[in-house]
C-alpha cells in the first residue's frame, strides 16, 4: 500500500509546499480549478492514449485527431454553414474512422503502431491545415456561430447543479472503496481490512472537507469538468469490469497467452484504437467548446503532456498498470506543479521543462521505492 501511494504523498507535500510558500496566490480554489478546466483536452487525450497503451500499443495520432475534430466542429458550422449536430457527428465519425484505420493498419497489416499512428496523426493535422488553408477558423460577424449552449458548456463560469457533481463524486469514492481491496495485505482478515479501509476513507474525506474545504472545490466544477468526470468513471468501469477491459489487460501482459486463453486479440486491439479515436474526438470537441474557434495545430502541444499523464498513472496508486484515476490525478498535479512555479515567478516558457522533470522524477522515485522491497 505504501509503495503505491508514495507518489501521491509526494504530490500532496509539493502542493502543501506551494501553499505555504505562495499563500493565497496559490491556494485560490477558483484559479486552481480553472487550471484543471483548461487541461480537460489534455486529460481527455491522456485517457485516449491509455486505452491503447494497456494492450501495449502507442497511439500518436490522438493529437492530430483532436486538431482535425476541432476544425470539423468549428469549420463545418462556421464555414460550411451546416447544422451544428451534423458538425459534431462528423467530428465523432472522424475520431472513430481514424481509430479504425489505425487498428487495421496495426493489427491486420502489421504496421508498427508507432509508425502507423505517427502517419495517420500527421495526415489528420495536415488535412486540418488544408481545410482551413493553414489559417485560424472562427465565427465572424455575418457567419453562423456554434450554439450558445455549446459555448456556455465550454466556459468555466457556467457550473452544473452541485448535486450532480456530488453524485458523481460519491460514485467515484464508492468505486475506489472496492478497488483498493486489491491491496489487502495477505495476513489481514476481511474484517480487519474492512475496518482499516473504512477508517482510512473516512479520515481522508474529513481531511479533504475540513482542511482543504472539499465543498468549495466541488462548487467550482464546470460543465466540462463534469463531462470529464463522467467519461473517466465510464472508462474506469469499462477497463476493470468488462470483458473487453480485462482482455485488453491480458493482451498487454502476454499477447500469445491471451490468444491461447481464447481472447480474440486482433479484434480487441482494433476496438481499443477505435475507442482511443473516439476519446480524441471528445478532446477536439472540448477544445472547440472552450476556445470557440480552431487555430492551426491547436492540439499538437497536448500530445506529450497526455502521454506524461498516462505514464504517471502507472505509479499513482498503481503497481505498474495504466489506470484512469491515475491519469487524471497525475495530469492534474503536473499542471499544478507547473502553475505553482509560474505563480512563484518562473517564466511560463519553462512549462515543458517542468512537465518532463515531474514525469521522470515521479516514475523513478516510485520504481526505486518498489525495488528496495525485494
Amino acid at each position: 500500500m505504501f509503495e503505491e501511494s508514495i507518489t501521491v504523498l509526494v504530490f500532496l507535500l509539493i502542493f502543501l509546499g506551494f501553499g505555504l510558500w505562495l499563500q493565497d496566490t496559490f491556494l485560490n480554489v477558483s484559479a486552481r480549478m480553472l487550471d484543471v478546466h483548461q487541461s480537460v483536452p489534455v486529460l481527455m487525450l491522456g485517457l485516449a492514449v491509455i486505452v491503447t497503451l494497456i494492450p501495449g500499443k502507442f497511439d500518436l495520432s490522438v493529437s492530430g485527431v483532436a486538431t482535425l475534430t476541432t476544425f470539423a466542429v468549428v469549420g463545418l458550422t462556421v464555414k460550411n454553414e451546416l447544422p451544428f449536430p451534423v458538425a459534431v457527428g462528423a467530428a465523432v465519425a472522424v475520431g472513430l474512422g481514424v481509430g479504425l484505420i489505425n487498428g487495421v493498419l496495426v493489427e491486420y497489416l502489421n504496421v508498427n503502431a508507432f509508425i502507423a499512428t505517427l502517419g495517420t496523426g500527421a495526415i489528420c493535422t495536415g488535412l486540418a491545415a488544408v481545410y482551413s488553408n493553414g489559417a485560424y477558423l472562427g465565427a465572424t460577424p455575418g457567419t453562423p456561430d456554434m450554439p450558445t449552449w455549446f459555448r456556455n458548456f465550454g466556459t468555466f463560469v457556467n457550473k452544473p447543479p452541485v448535486a450532480i457533481v456530488w453524485v458523481m463524486i460519491v460514485l467515484a469514492v464508492v468505486g475506489a472503496f472496492f478497488v483498493v481491496d486489491r491491496f489487502r495485505p495477505a495476513a489481514w482478515s476481511k474484517t480487519r481490512w474492512l475496518v482499516a479501509k473504512s477508517a482510512m476513507f473516512v479520515s481522508v474525506i474529513l481531511v479533504l472537507q475540513f482542511v482543504t474545504l472539499l465543498s468549495t472545490w466541488v462548487a467550482q466544477v464546470s460543465w466540462m469538468l463534469l463531462m470529464l468526470l463522467l467519461v473517466a468513471l465510464t472508462m474506469a468501469v469499462l477497463l476493470q469490469y468488462t470483458t473487453f477491459g480485462r482482455q485488453l489487460q491480458a493482451i498487454g501482459s502476454n499477447r500469445s497467452a491471451a490468444a491461447l486463453a481464447g481472447v480474440r486479440v486482433r479484434r480487441q486491439v482494433v476496438k481499443s484504437f477505435v475507442l482511443g479515436g473516439f476519446l480524441a474526438a471528445l478532446a477536439g470537441i472540448s477544445i472547440a467548446a472552450s476556445q470557440g474557434s480552431a487555430s492551426p495545430d491547436v492540439a499538437s502541444a497536448f500530445l506529450l503532456p497526455a502521454f506524461a499523464a498516462a505514464f504517471l498513472s502507472t505509479v499513482v496508486f498503481s503497481d505498474g498498470r495504466f489506470t484512469v484515476g491515475g491519469t487524471i490525478i497525475g495530469g492534474v498535479f503536473v499542471v499544478w506543479v507547473g502553475i505553482g512555479l509560474i505563480v512563484g515567478g518562473l517564466p511560463s516558457t519553462w512549462t515543458n521543462v517542468i512537465n518532463g522533470g515531474v514525469l521522470i522524477g515521479a516514475v523513478s522515485l516510485s520504481t526505486a521505492v518498489r525495488r528496495r522491497r525485494t
Binding site: T242, A259, L260
Partner: protein, 482 residues
C-alpha cells in the same frame, strides 16, 4: 586435486521475508563435496527462493552463507559455483561453442584477435564430460530441450564449477532426456563435484541422489541419506496423502457420444491424424519432443488450423479450454493478479445484461477454485509473477476449470507440481470426465497417462498410433512407449 574440505557449503539460520510473508524460516545446511542432494518440498515451500538467495538474486533477511569456511553474501560471483535454472540462459541463435564463450573472459591470440580454436577445443572437452556427441558448431536452436540442458551443465563444468545447483531443470524434459541429465549430474557428483537438485520427481531422487532434504513451509523438516528410502517413504516425508492412481472408476462411463473429431488432418509434417474425443472420456497422447504431440493438442483446441483434412465439431459453438505446454511464455499474465489470470477465459459467466461484470461473484468463484487447487498464497489478489512455479501451473489449470468447457485440452497438466497436487489434479480430471466433458491429455509424463487416461496412444513419425485402453497396458509398457 583440491582439498575436499574447501568446498563445503554451509548455510546458517537463513531467513527471508517478502513484506510480512516469511518464506524461509531459518534454514541450516551443511553440504560436502561429492554429495548429490535432492531438494524436495511442496509448491511454494521456498526451494526456489533458497536457491535464488544462494545465487544472489535475492538478499537474505538474515543468516549466513559460508563456502569452504569463508562467509559470503551469495555464491553468485564465485567461479566454483554454477546455477542452472529452468531458463537455461543459453542463446538459441548461437552455436554451442559461442554459447560457451558468452560471459567467459575472451581467450585471445594477440591484440583483439580471438582464439576461436582454443574456445572450441575446451567446449568439445566439456561436451564429452556430459556424454553429448555433438559438434560444437551446432546451433542451439537445433537441439532438443534435453540436449540444451546438458549443454548448460557442460558449460558450467567447462567454467570449472565444483558445485552445481539445479532448479527443476528436468521438469520440462521428456523422461529420456531427463534421464540423460540426471546421469551426467550423477557422474559429476561421482567425480567429486557437489550437486544440489530441486525436483518433484520421486524417481529422480531415488535413482541418483545421495541425500534428501525436504523443505516444508520454509523450514527444513527432513534431512536423510537416500540409501534405504523407497517411494512410499519419500511420499510420507513430503507429508502428502498418498494417491492411488489405479482406482479408475471404469464403470461410470455412461455416455460416450463423440464431441470432436479430427478426420485425416495434416499439419506440417503431421498426418494423416484421425482422432475422436468422446464425452466422459479421457484420452492421453504422448510422444517425444518434436513428434508434434502438442501440435495435435493445439489442432484439437482450434488454435492451429489443419492444412488438409477437417476438425468436426458435434455441435455448433463447442467450447474448448487449453492448458498450454509452455507455462512461462504461453500461460500466465505476470503483472495481473491470480484472480485476473484465472477469470480471463470465463468472463462471460459473470456478465450482466449491461455487460458489466459482477465482481463479487467472480471473486467467490475464483477463490473457490483456488482453494480446490490449494494455490499458495491463498489471497487471489496476489500478483502472478511472484508465485512459485507449481502454483503458476495451478492457476493456469484453474483458468480452464472455471470456463467449464465441453472439451479440455491439457498439455503437460502436472508439469512442476508437487506430489499432493498431482493426485488432486488427477482427481479433478476424472471428475471433469464424469461430468460429461471430453478430455485430451497431451503429456510426456508416463504417470499422467496411466493415472487418468482411459485410452492412450503414441505420436511417432507424424502419425497417431492406435488408441489402446490403459487397463490393457502394463506400467513398463507405458514407460517404454514414452
Amino acid at each position: 586435486m583440491q582439498d575436499p574440505g574447501s568446498h563445503t557449503l554451509e548455510v546458517d539460520g537463513l531467513r527471508k521475508s517478502f513484506g510480512s510473508n516469511e518464506v524461509l524460516k531459518g534454514i541450516n545446511l551443511t553440504i560436502r563435496s561429492g554429495e548429490f542432494i535432492g531438494l524436495m518440498g511442496p509448491n511454494g515451500a521456498g526451494k526456489s527462493t533458497l536457491i535464488k538467495i544462494l545465487a544472489g538474486v535475492y538478499q537474505a533477511s538474515s543468516g549466513q552463507i559460508r563456502l569452504g569456511g569463508r562467509t559470503l553474501t551469495s555464491l553468485g560471483d564465485t567461479e566454483d559455483v554454477a546455477f542452472i535454472h529452468q531458463d537455461l540462459g543459453l542463446v538459441d541463435a548461437l552455436t554451442i561453442a559461442e554459447n560457451f564463450a558468452l560471459g567467459n573472459p575472451p581467450q585471445r591470440l594477440f591484440g583483439p584477435i580471438l582464439n576461436k580454436r582454443a574456445e572450441r577445443t575446451s567446449a568439445a572437452r566439456a561436451l564429452g564430460l556430459v556424454g553429448l556427441d555433438l559438434s560444437v558448431d551446432t546451433l542451439l536452436s537445433d537441439l532438443t530441450p534435453g540436449q540444451k540442458t546438458l549443454v548448460a551443465v557442460a558449460r558450467a563444468m567447462d567454467r570449472g564449477a565444483r558445485i552445481l545447483i539445479v532448479d527443476e531443470a528436468t521438469s520440462t524434459l521428456p523422461p529420456r532426456d531427463a534421464q540423460g541429465v540426471i546421469l551426467s549430474l550423477a557422474a559429476a557428483a561421482a567425480a567429486g563435484a557437489t550437486v544440489v537438485m530441486v525436483t518433484h520427481k520421486l524417481s529422480e531422487i531415488l535413482e541418483a541422489t545421495s541425500r534428501v532434504l525436504v523443505i516444508l513451509d520454509g523450514e527444513m523438516v527432513r534431512d536423510a541419506p537416500t540409501h534405504g528410502l523407497d517411494r512410499a517413504a519419500l511420499v510420507e516425508m513430503l507429508m502428502q496423502h498418498e494417491s492411488d492412481p489405479h482406482n479408475l472408476d471404469d464403470a461410470s462411463h455412461q455416455t460416450r457420444d463423440p464431441v470432436l473429431e479430427l478426420r485425416g488432418v495434416h499439419f506440417e509434417d503431421l498426418g494423416p491424424i484421425d482422432l475422436t474425443l468422446n464425452a466422459g472420456e479421457v484420452i492421453g497422447i504422448s510422444g517425444l519432443p518434436g513428434s508434434g504431440l502438442h501440435d495435435i493438442a493445439l489442432l484439437v483446441n482450434g488454435t492451429l488450423k489443419p492444412h488438409k483434412g477437417e476438425v468436426v465439431e458435434s455441435r455448433p459453438r463447442l467450447t474448448r479450454a487449453l492448458v498450454p505446454p509452455h507455462r512461462e511464455s504461453q500461460g500466465g499474465f505476470g503483472e495481473l493478479s491470480i484472480r485476473e489470470n484465472m477469470a480471463l477465459s470465463a468472463l462471460g459467466r459473470w456478465r450482466r445484461l449491461s455487460r458489466v461484470l459482477k465482481p463479487r461473484r467472480e471473486e467467490l468463484d475464483c477463490a473457490r477454485v483456488a482453494s480446490e487447487l490449494s494455490i499458495k498464497p491463498a489471497s487471489i489478489d496476489t500478483t502472478f509473477d511472484i508465485l512459485s512455479g507449481g502454483n503458476k501451473q495451478k492457476v493456469i489449470f484453474g483458468r480452464a476449470l472455471l470456463l467449464n468447457p465441453d472439451v479440455f485440452v491439457l498439455c503437460e497438466p502436472t508439469r512442476g507440481v508437487d506430489v499432493g497436487t498431482r493426485s488432486e489434479i488427477y482427481r479433478l480430471i476424472r471428475e471433469l470426465a464424469r461430468g460429461g466433458a471430453a478430455v485430451l491429455v497431451a503429456s510426456s509424463d508416463a504417470e499422467d497417462l496411466f493415472s487418468v487416461c482411459d485410452r492412450v496412444a503414441l505420436v511417432a513419425d507424424g502419425r497417431l498410433q492406435q488408441l489402446r485402453p490403459v487397463s490393457e497396458l502394463s506400467t513398463s509398457e507405458l514407460e517404454l512407449m514414452v
